[in-house]
Symmetry: C2
Subunit: 263 residues, 2 copies
């Protein structure tokens, strides 16, 4: 059957996450409804990752097989005409039969966006976590380096399958700062972006990383404490509070094979 | 009477602009309600500028006189506890009697944010204008330079008072580009920010500038056409379509006098 790889962007604020649920508005549910309206088909979707309620995506990848053959740009345009304003197909391409967006993904990148502000930040409130700053970036970077590598990250999240492995390989963590007109504005707005690339993520792992790294930046946890948590092995620490979903941005998924095959 | 200068940030999406109206949710209306709840007073507000419905502010300035004396940080905290999520007081300071946020302002900066995308951009949709790119930045910069200076900008907007002058002084226009991971993402996202600093703005002027500069960037208008429009004097051209309010961000206001006087 003709198989398509769809790249999706969505604002997660008004979705109950990716995964289809009977009574809730979810991204997969809205996408499947649009596919049904444009094609009359009710296929199954595969997805690179299941984002949480309130989390956003810039490069989520879904795989779908349809009995009808579509010119990819026409499929993209038809779906976009049918989808609501908070989700869009940003790319559609034909793919080899049997493509599974989750199984075939070889690495994933997530970003977590923090705004340092003593108070609320209305314009960015749906897409960032506002915390008290300043954050000590060098402490955050030192702590981040201790998370890089292949480790049992059980303290940072749950396996995606019941009884599944909690070992993951974190390729890189970057902590970058964007200061917007710091000395010209009364509202000093520091944005700190945490970018993590890994082969795969446990449930909650990125939000646990962000929660822990912000505490390190505020001087409330040490980089050593994080190392010990990994060394201690399984048993999730109650001290790692998840950062809120609204600051979480799924960013990119990579696949080994060149995607343009079928059609 | 003790006078305070409040700096405000707001997400304009769900407001019918700044100016108080009987039946509509406006920023001034919501702020006056909050002032009444915390102080029991119903003062008048002055504001550096009246933003349009859907436009945002990062450094709007309002002036208010209260019969009661407040410690500024307490006033800020009390108002923030009473204001909804889409508006916040980011700074409060005492000011000399008779402060008028509009009359006393000596220059204003607005930003207009454009996303170049062949299609919708869900995450940024409330805060940017999505246009077909690419935009020719050097053409936009050349056109922008022709707007700098003291001119009759009648073709770009209406006077703020009936019969008032349409002469304004534009100090600078910067056109900057932010490319986010252009070669790594399928969803190529180019953001172009137009920053204009002027002594004051006509109604609609910033949105007319953005609309015209984007057309220049797309090759649909020439920089010369803009110059001719200024030289032609009054009578607004029907060819300048206003860019949508959602991409407009009030940024900053400057005052000559040092603000910390009263209290």
């Amino acid at each position: 059957m003709p198989t398509y790889r769809l790249t999706l962007e969505y604002d997660g604020t008004e979705f109950h996450g990716w995964q289809q649920q009977p009574q809730a508005r979810t991204v997969a549910g809205v996408l499947l409804d649009a596919i049904h309206r444009v094609s009359g088909e009710r296929p199954t979707l595969t997805a690179a990752g299941r984002t949480d309620a309130g989390a956003h995506a810039h490069g989520q990848v879904a795989g779908v097989s349809l009995s009808q053959t579509w010119e990819p740009e026409r499929l993209k345009a038809a779906l976009n005409a049918s989808l609501p304003a908070d989700v869009a197909v940003v790319a559609a391409m034909p793919h080899a039969d049997g493509f599974d967006a989750r199984r075939d993904a070889v690495d994933r990148t997530y970003r977590y966006v923090v705004v340092c502000r003593d108070g609320r930040a209305p314009v960015t409130r749906r897409h960032t976590w506002t915390v008290r700053g300043p954050l000590d970036l060098s402490a955050m970077r030192a702590a981040a380096q201790r998370l890089v590598g292949t480790h049992d990250f059980a303290a940072f999240g749950g396996a995606t399958n019941p009884g599944g492995s909690t070992v993951r390989t974190v390729h890189s963590i970057d902590v970058t700062q964007h200061v917007i007109d710091a000395d010209e504005r009364e509202a000093h707005l520091d944005t700190v972006v945490i970018t993590v690339r890994a082969n795969a993520f446990l449930r909650g792992m990125m939000r646990a990383f962000a929660g822990a790294l912000v505490k390190v930046g505020q001087g409330r946890l040490t980089p050593e404490w994080l190392s010990n948590l990994i060394d201690a092995g399984p048993a999730r620490s109650p001290q790692i509070a998840l950062a809120p979903a609204r600051g979480l941005h799924q960013w990119r998924v990579s696949y080994v094979q060149s995607p343009a095959v079928a059609a």
